[in-house]
Amino acid sequence: MARALINVPAKAKKGEIIEIKTMLSHPMETGFRPAADGKLVPRNIIKRFVCTYDGEAVFSADLFPAISANPFLSFTLVATNSGVITFSWTDDNGQTQVQTAKIEVA
């Protein structure tokens, strides 16, 4: 399980615009880099990031080989109701990492 840093405000007012920051520990291997033996290291990047808020997709992104290791994604949401925000990252190996954060909206 790779490490992830997720920053979601614990509390927000209804209708407030909140900033979400996420970072996942991932090498984002481009597939163009030769290893010590001269052969290319197989590509392994995060291809898809999806954020859902109470089950509904509110933000998603396609990632490409030029994006740095440990990709950092920041975006804003409108706080509508208390619930769970889910983050999922899927890489070239088909592995999906899921993290969740709770938000209380008053």
């Binding site: 490490r3 920053n7 920051k21 970072m23 440990n70």
Partner: protein, 258 residues
Amino acid sequence: MRALWILPGCAMLLAVTSAHAEIAAHERKSGAEFMSPQTQAMQADDASNPGMLAVLDGEAAWNEKAGAANKACADCHGAAEQSMKGVSARYPAFNAATSQPIDVAGQVNQCRTGRQQAQPLRAESRELLALTTYIGLQSRGMSVAPPDDERLTPFRERGKALFNQRLGQLNFSCAHCHEDNWGRKLGSAPIPQAHANAYPIYRLEWQDVGSLQRRLRNCMSGVRAAPYSYGSIEFIELELFLAERARGMAVETPGVRP
């Protein structure tokens, strides 16, 4: 008559400029001050500082039992927030058992082989960097405070000599860039003062966390010199001198550097 007076004056001036100008206390600047505002912001916010991923790994490793003794760091040292506070700020320290100075990475490995009875962690491995970054974080904001231990003095003096020693095909010493020409540019990159107060750092060029020794090896291959090996006494001596040189500066671990 007048010309005769000028000549010895010139000779004096040459003699003075051939020694490296040590950086005055009020002119000392952390490497962070030479970075772009964007990179500074990345370091300042723990939510965007990628070094914090290594901290999370380090925290897990701190509590993970290892070796034949089946002990975790936490079993002896307790919570790192208390027991490791200020440790990175004062290392390298003198190790009485080997009669040599030792840095934090060396100390971690000594604990592993001695107390945990486990294999030492490979230099620059993910696990070792995670632990040293996590330990380093506990000193963040504190002043670099190398110990006033007389046994360290000869090693520190040798470190200072190494810092001023010309090396490699380009025949530069550390001081040629970092004391004589800091603030100017090398290619497009600003030359910082080489203060070691933010290590281990997340270097954007590396796309990863690395130690001070890795950074020193980079500079050495930059001047076309054969780098010292990881953990060598030369590096520990340089680390000792650099700690003294940065005495009083705030620890920034985990720093972000371009």
